[in-house]
């Protein structure tokens, strides 16, 4: 282990670090928004759309991100749709992530106890009131563990962006290894960089899960 090499590589890693953070953030926020919309469509069983998005969720969840990215980045230009590597990466990550998030939201909604729904109906609530005052508030807190697992998963998936030459952390490390051959140093820095991002995120999400655990009723 040569610390001089580590020192010299630091500015490169700092850049990759920043890009990984940004891409993760955009990907996660985008996935949550799109996933929430998809789960609403499925919850209210909106005809046609709900079947369409059910197919989408299964397709996105049962195929690898790498091939989704290759499709966006290499196959789309054959039809005249040219996307930058970054745009392909973000679209691909949201395509994948939104399906996972939708599944997470739905799991929460379905976990709300039957008696809660019966009570709502007994109070004369209509479908929308039931959703607004009973199913969503309780379902959201139930879906937090699944959503937080997805957040960690999506951050790690950004490492796959390296295959379409987005200069994020993994790509930076591979570039440096290709140029200067010091694989031990660069790989150690890479692992440490992911630890710096993920450990605080994991700790925060654990705290959040503990906070919302009390937000359930009727059990």
């Amino acid at each position: 282990m040569n610390w001089e090499i580590v020192n010299q590589a630091l500015p490169f890693f700092a850049k990759g670090f920043e890009l990984t953070l940004w891409l993760s953030l955009i990907g996660i926020v985008g996935s949550i928004i799109v996933g929430a919309i998809v789960s609403l469509i499925e919850y209210f069983k909106i005809p046609v759309l709900s079947q369409f998005f059910k197919g989408y969720v299964e397709l996105a969840r049962n195929t690898p991100l790498l091939i989704q990215l290759f499709f966006l980045y290499y196959a789309f230009p054959a039809f005249g749709i040219k996307l930058s590597a970054e745009a392909s990466g973000i679209i691909g990550l949201i395509f994948l992530g939104a399906a996972y998030m939708a599944e997470g939201f739905m799991g929460g909604f379905n976990g709300v106890s039957k008696s809660q729904i019966d009570n709502g109906l007994a109070l004369g609530m209509n479908n929308f009131q039931l959703a607004r005052y009973v199913v969503f508030p309780q379902g959201l807190s139930l879906s937090v563990p699944a959503l937080s697992a997805n957040v960690i998963f999506l951050i790690k998936e950004t490492s796959i962006f390296s295959v379409i030459a987005i200069p994020e952390l993994t790509n930076t490390a591979l570039d440096l290894i290709g140029m200067y051959y010091h694989s031990n140093e660069y790989l150690l820095m890479l692992v440490v960089a992911y630890a710096i991002i993920l450990i605080p995120v994991i700790l925060f999400l654990n705290l959040l899960e503990r906070k919302v655990r009390n937000a359930q009723f009727g059990n």
């Binding site: 054959a78 390296s162 790989l187």
Partner: protein, 224 residues
């Protein structure tokens, strides 16, 4: 234009080559799962024992795999094994090693969780019957926790299959790598071959993973 593009899949022995590539992905996934599930079960059981030192080490092992992305894991094996440890393995074996260790980590946590979810009264009943710890595992804890572990193991299998797509990164001749070669070789004749080849591989992965994920979901529903 689209219709003629699909022929790229059947030109020469392209189809057979893609299938051979897919087979490489499948056997690596299956072998890694078998090895990983065995080691994972052992680690999971060890993590329910009172020895704090073993529990701490295995927890660290798990957290390492939680933090390091699989891509990075593959590169760690790919560079450290030959360069630092001077062990020269074929890419397929390096991949099997990386995947087995990863599966073992994930499954150890599943097994631990499942064993800990067996009600305390079951353990007390076993103890009242005079079971020792080994008998307790054999007759009470393992049979009752398997029901929770099977859907989780199937779910893990779908993830391992999807992750075999990363094997091309350490130059294993799997289906995507073969696909890239076919695209490059036929670029002149089939300019939109890229759409058909990647589209075909996309569907292949879906065909492998979708039945497994339906099966796992159905088992979970049956348990609850």
């Amino acid at each position: 234009m689209l219709n003629s593009g699909i022929n790229v899949l059947f030109e020469g022995n392209n189809f057979a080559r893609l299938m051979a590539g897919l087979w490489t992905s499948i056997w690596i996934a299956v072998l890694s799962l078998v090895i990983g599930l065995i080691i994972g079960t052992l680690f999971g059981v060890l993590r329910t024992l009172p020895n704090k030192f073993i529990r701490f080490i295995l927890r660290l092992y798990l957290e390492f795999f939680r933090i390091v992305p699989t891509v990075v894991l593959l590169y760690l094996v790919y560079y450290i094994l030959p360069r630092t440890l001077h062990i020269n393995w074929a890419g397929t074996w390096m991949a099997t090693l990386a995947f087995s260790l990863w599966v073992a980590a994930e499954f150890s946590d599943i097994v631990r969780g499942a064993i800990e979810s067996v009600p305390k009264s079951q353990i007390n009943s076993g103890l009242a019957l005079g079971f020792n710890r080994w008998q307790l595992f054999k007759y009470v804890l393992i049979p009752q926790s398997v029901k929770l572990e099977i859907p989780a193991a199937i779910n893990l299998a779908t993830r391992v299959i999807k992750t075999t797509s990363l094997l091309m990164l350490i130059s294993v001749m799997e289906v995507i790598n073969v696909g890239q070669q076919i695209i490059e070789a036929n670029n002149q004749k089939y300019p939109i071959g890229v759409f058909w080849v990647y589209g075909f591989i996309f569907i292949l992965y879906f065909i492998l993973d979708y039945p497994l994920s339906v099966w796992s979901k159905r088992l979970v529903k049956k348990n609850s």
